[in-house]
Symmetry: C2
Subunit: 256 residues, 2 copies
DNA sequence: CGTGCTATTGAGGAGTATCAATGCGTGTGG
DNA sequence: CCACACGCATTGATACTCCTCAATAGCACG
């Protein structure tokens, strides 16, 4: 469960409502959420946990008791294929409710794993239920968040019709747009402390081919993925190669 | 908008609450839904429309006013890649709320297309809102349905790590399980009036390769896809080849 | 009885995988 | 403080899956 060398026990600490509320507020630029609602939801947080890189945060097919908001680091949802290969189904960035669907499904169909050191805030289901019954609009906001996850899934499905170059380019575009929404990226790039193996498992390519494809993207002057950072050389060109259209992220009300 | 040869106007008719309510009731074996709730939801239906094969049912990126329940036929969600190729993102079977996520998102990121003659029942958003406010548990039921869609998306993502044979096998297994849940399949097979081109667009393979892969599956005695029907020769073997584990469909409460 | 779409089969090619080796950086223990 | 181990990145050579192009046949429909 824990990677060799990682801490045996995750760090647990108290949650500061004042600290999470603004994060919640800016989570979804696409939906109206009042200050009061953000406060109420933040108050439902129970505790905060920090996980070491490569450690599992939630298991599949076991009953859950809380949903988790990622506030720092990168987290993935992963499945293991029958032959043992790892497949990354989704990558989460700070501000994402990572297993909100578990609130409805009561168990997950995949693992949740920390790709980097990751800090999560836990929301027990009972508290979420009572917050929702007091603030009924929040129910729609949370539902909305899970449907955006599904839209991202669909874009990944469509991505398998793309070439290796376009697929990687698309992943970089998507993460840039999502990170920018929470102030963690701009047009020049962003921190992405993943390995090429992670990118391979997320794009259904081999690490070797990811390496070669990254070189192509670098030599084309589009992106340079190096030492945990995505350095964007030509954003417009990258988005053109990727066939990227941000509307599926539902980041702006005008898209709807 | 309409395929050549299809009817110019879809057939519109009155909805029979008595007819849809049972369908709604058995939609989700995985969640409790009372008879009263099923009736209330069915009463929110406005009208029923029948679409010709290959015609578009809903467009992407335009504001929506209702969600649609598929009660007969097969429907797909489709995206078009920049180079014009079609990608099928999801296949819906009778009993599926095809664009329920539009209720929350207010517009779709993809097209909805009738693969066969398809009959849909329309639920205007205003009516859904009032039903939900009267029967608050239904909100959870509908949310649940969209999260199961997302789980299916994830399984398709994982599927791209599978070989062509396993990917097609997995699709046949999934559709069988979902159709069985609404009484349209058994262990021996089911009607699936799609073309090999449809299967190709759904699996990100070429039609030629689908054809050859289908032959392999047939010669292995696993499945025979022919003239609009999936004839299963060896279900256990098929599921083994596919690496199929039905839990992600959340068809049974025990899975949760 | 064409017209068009789908299914099937063949031949050859492209893209990506596999196998293998080396280098590189970091952390660790002697 | 150095030697080593280990995981990751990089590159080369080769293999294989799946794609592309092409042609034909079958079938439904007007």
């Amino acid at each position: 469960m824990q990677a060799a060398g990682g801490p045996r026990v995750s760090m647990v600490s108290e949650v500061s409502v004042a600290q999470i509320a603004p994060l919640i507020g800016r989570l979804r630029r696409s939906d109206d959420i009042t200050e009061e609602e953000a406060q109420a939801l933040a108050a439902a947080a129970e505790e905060q946990r920090t996980h070491a890189p490569r450690t599992r945060i939630a298991r599949s097919h076991v009953p859950l008791r809380n949903s988790q908001l990622l506030i720092d680091g990168f987290v993935s949802r992963e499945a293991e294929l029958p032959d043992g290969r790892r497949r990354i189904l989704a990558i989460h960035v700070p501000g994402d409710f990572v297993d909100l669907h578990g609130f409805v499904l009561r168990s997950l169909d995949h693992e949740v794993v920390a790709l980097t050191t990751a800090t999560m805030v836990l929301f027990p289901y009972e508290r979420m239920l009572s917050v929702i019954s007091d603030h009924r609009h929040l129910s729609r906001v949370l539902w909305f968040a899970t449907t955006v996850d599904a839209a991202i899934h669909r874009e990944w499905i469509a991505s398998y019709g793309r070439s290796a170059v376009a697929r990687l380019a698309h992943l970089f575009c998507e993460l840039r747009a999502r990170l920018e929404a929470v102030g963690l990226a701009d047009t020049s790039g962003y921190a992405l402390p993943l390995t090429q193996i992670d990118l391979a498992d997320a794009t259904a390519l081999t690490p070797v081919h990811v390496n070669r494809t990254l070189r192509q993207l670098r030599e084309a002057g589009l992106v340079d993925f190096r030492s945990g950072r995505v350095e964007i050389g030509d954003l417009a060109g990258l988005e053109r190669v990727a066939g990227f259209d941000a509307r599926y992220l539902y980041l702006n009300k005008v898209d709807r």
